[in-house]
Each structure stands twice: as structure tokens, then as C-alpha cells.
Amino acid sequence: MQPFTLNYARPAVQLDVTTPYAYDSGLQLNVLPDGRIAATDHATLRALGTTTSTAGSKTHFDD
């Protein structure tokens, strides 16, 4: 009784990524441990894929 579309499902990739930045409520921005603004560190953002269209987002389907 599985819907046709689910014949094409695959296990979701479980990303156990720990983001190296933390939210600073004063700045209203995420900040790296060395104090730099995370959004300016494109190398980190690329590595984490946190700004990327991912498909399968757990909470949002607006990728």
C-alpha cells in the first residue's frame, strides 16, 4: 500500500554537523569563536552547506 512516489525515496542523509558559530542576541548574528561574523566566512558556510538548497529539509520545504 506504499504510495508510488515513495518507491523513489532514499534514506535521508543525517548530517551530524556541529556549526562552529553561535547566535549572539546582541548582534542578532551568528558569530565564530574568534569573534568574526559567520556570514562573512564563505569557506565555512560552503563547508557546512547551511545556505544551500538541500531538499528534504526537516522543517522547511522552501529550499
Binding site: N30, A39, T50, T51, T59, F61
Partner: protein, 327 residues
């Protein structure tokens, strides 16, 4: 006048816009509705024919009448991090927050009503047709026989979720997938199925629309790619996204779409075929943009910041995204 950003704390893409607003000296209040009653508080009163209200978060206080715009980016469900969360409390908190925001004169990116409607892919496909965008032949059905007949007419098909959502129990992803010619369609009876003619693509296009500004990026397809690797989000990347001009006919269609959808922001996905035609696949009303900006250098965050600050889209023709008060 303040820009209100509704999103979660981890949303580093929103940070790109917060930075631009800060550089422009525009006041910003950022909060996650999930924090209502813990870190976020609200109040509104309706007395003697007038109403007023305010929000506070992290020591910041903003009046409802002082809101310039509201950016609904990636908000959590209201009050889900409350001390004693419940479905009832979420409904109460959501009604209170969004109900009060709806009575402000702030313009929205995007208005919740427009956003909710715009998530429906069947509706998107029809609006794209009406907007004269090229739309691949598509069938959404629970009739196995309809699926079989469609497959006879269009032998090279892909299947994708109607909603764009993915099953969570257990967590699975459902990429756009190619349907083999001899496929048994009987399971179509067990759930609405979206079948679409596969576009033999030479590139993927991500077109980000902010107000009246169109910023397109193109990722060439790998000529040696497996033809079964249909979904760019799952296929290996062989090229960065590159900025590209938008064909005039597509630009006109996209602007019609944005007006019809009453959206101020949209991220369109197209497949470019061998003849250079851009085939509409979908429009995500809150689609990601950071990865495109980082690859192309296109000023998407700055354009969003400008729109939120009230200076974008000066002719006001396209996609106001700001339904009137009390909508």
C-alpha cells in the same frame, strides 16, 4: 522604522541580510516565534477605537506601528520552546503574533496568506502557464490508468512529491527521479502522484526575484552525467553557479507570476533544454539564496535588505508583497 525578521537563530542566511541592514543603519529586530513566552513577549490593546501593540526580544522593544516591513524567513512554530509547549499554546501564540502583525501597515516578504498559497505546486504550475512560462507536461493523479496513459504519451517521465515535503518516519528524501519505461503504476492509487515529462537539460537555472529585481544563475549540466541524475540537489556538482541574463520573455513571465502570486520574494527553478528554453519547475517562496550569492557574487542579500528598508522596487508595480492592513 524597524525591519522585523522572523527566523530561527541558526539561520545564517538571514545573517547576510541583517549585516546589510546594519551597514545601512536600518533598525532590525530579529526573533523566532518559537521563543514566544520565553525570550519573546508581545502585547496589544484595542481601546476606544484604536489599537496598538509591541514586541520585545533580547532587550529590544518595537511597536507594531513602528514596523517598516516583516521578513518571514525561516520562523519556528510559535511557542514551541515555551516552558510547557502544547499544540494549543502554539495556536494561541500564532494567532496572537500573526494576528497583530496583520494589522500593521508593514509590507511583507512574503505575506503569510500569499506564502501559504504559493507552496502548492499544482497551483504554481497553473499560474506559470497563465504567466506564459514554459511548463513541462504534468499529471497529478491517483488513477493508475491515467498514469499509464500519460506514460504512453510522454514515455520519458520523472516523478516528484506534490508538496515538496519529505517523509520523516523514518526520515527519507524523495528526489525528483526518472521513471523507467516499464514501470508498474498500480501504486499510484495509494497516493497522489506527480509525473512530469523529463526535460533533457543542458543547465539548471535558479532565478531569484526580489521585488522587481531578477537575479539569475546557471549551472551547466555535466555532459557525462548519468541521465538518471535528474535532481540537481542530489547530483554531483561539476560547476559553480554562474550569473546569467534572463531572456526577456522569461522575465516578463516571471513578473506576471510574481504579481499573480502576490509575492515579494521567490526562488524559481528552471531546466534549460538544448534549444535554450527555460522550463518552469517550481517557485519556492522562501528559497535559499546564500549559495547562489557566494558562487556568483550577485548582491541578493543587499537587494533583499534594500527592499525591506523600503527603497526597493521604486515603481511599485511588481510584487508589493504588502497586502493592506487588516487583510
Amino acid at each position: 522604522m524597524t525591519v522585523l525578521i522572523l527566523t530561527n537563530e541558526e539561520d545564517v542566511t538571514a545573517d547576510m541580510v541583517v549585516l546589510r541592514l546594519g551597514e545601512a543603519g536600518v533598525p532590525v529586530v530579529r526573533l523566532d516565534p518559537a521563543d514566544l513566552t520565553t525570550g519573546v513577549a508581545l502585547s496589544g490593546e484595542y481601546v476606544q477605537g484604536a489599537c496598538s501593540g509591541h514586541l520585545s526580544v533580547g532587550g529590544r522593544l518595537v511597536t507594531m506601528s513602528g514596523l517598516r516591513s516583516v521578513w518571514v524567513r525561516r520562523p519556528g512554530e510559535a511557542a514551541t520552546r515555551a516552558a510547557q509547549p502544547s499544540a494549543w499554546l502554539t495556536q494561541e501564540a500564532s494567532q496572537a503574533l500573526y494576528g497583530m502583525l496583520r494589522i500593521t501597515d508593514a509590507r511583507w516578504m512574503n505575506h503569510p496568506d500569499a506564502a501559504r498559497r504559493a507552496r502548492h505546486k499544482p497551483w504554481q504550475l497553473h499560474l506559470a502557464q497563465r504567466s506564459t512560462l514554459a511548463v513541462p507536461a504534468t499529471l497529478i493523479t491517483t488513477f493508475p490508468q491515467a498514469a499509464r496513459e500519460f506514460a504512453e504519451r510522454f514515455p520519458d517521465l520523472v516523478v516528484k512529491p506534490v508538496s515538496g515535503a519529505h517523509p520523516q518516519e523514518p526520515p527519507r528524501a524523495v528526489p525528483t527521479s526518472r521513471v523507467a519505461p516499464d514501470t508498474d503504476f498500480s501504486a499510484v492509487a495509494f497516493g497522489p502522484t506527480l509525473l512530469q515529462r523529463r526535460i533533457g537539460k543542458r543547465a539548471d537555472i535558479r532565478l531569484t526575484v526580489v521585488g522587481d529585481t531578477l537575479l539569475a544563475a546557471r549551472k551547466p549540466a555535466d555532459p557525462d552525467a548519468d541521465p538518471d541524475d535528474v535532481d540537481v540537489r542530489f547530483a554531483p556538482s561539476v560547476s559553480p553557479w554562474l550569473a546569467v541574463d534572463v531572456p526577456r520573455r522569461v522575465a516578463d513571465g516571471v513578473r506576471r507570476y510574481m504579481r499573480g502570486a502576490e509575492l515579494a520574494y521567490g526562488a524559481f527553478d528552471f531546466a534549460e533544454d538544448a534549444d535554450g528554453i527555460w522550463w518552469f519547475l517550481e517557485c519556492n517562496q522562501s528559497g535559499q539564496f546564500g549559495f547562489v550569492e557566494m558562487d556568483t557574487g550577485q548582491p541578493i542579500a543587499a537587494t533583499i535588505a534594500t527592499w525591506l528598508a523600503g527603497d526597493g522596487d521604486p515603481d511599485g508595480r511588481c510584487a508589493q508583497g504588502g497586502r493592506g492592513a487588516a487583510s
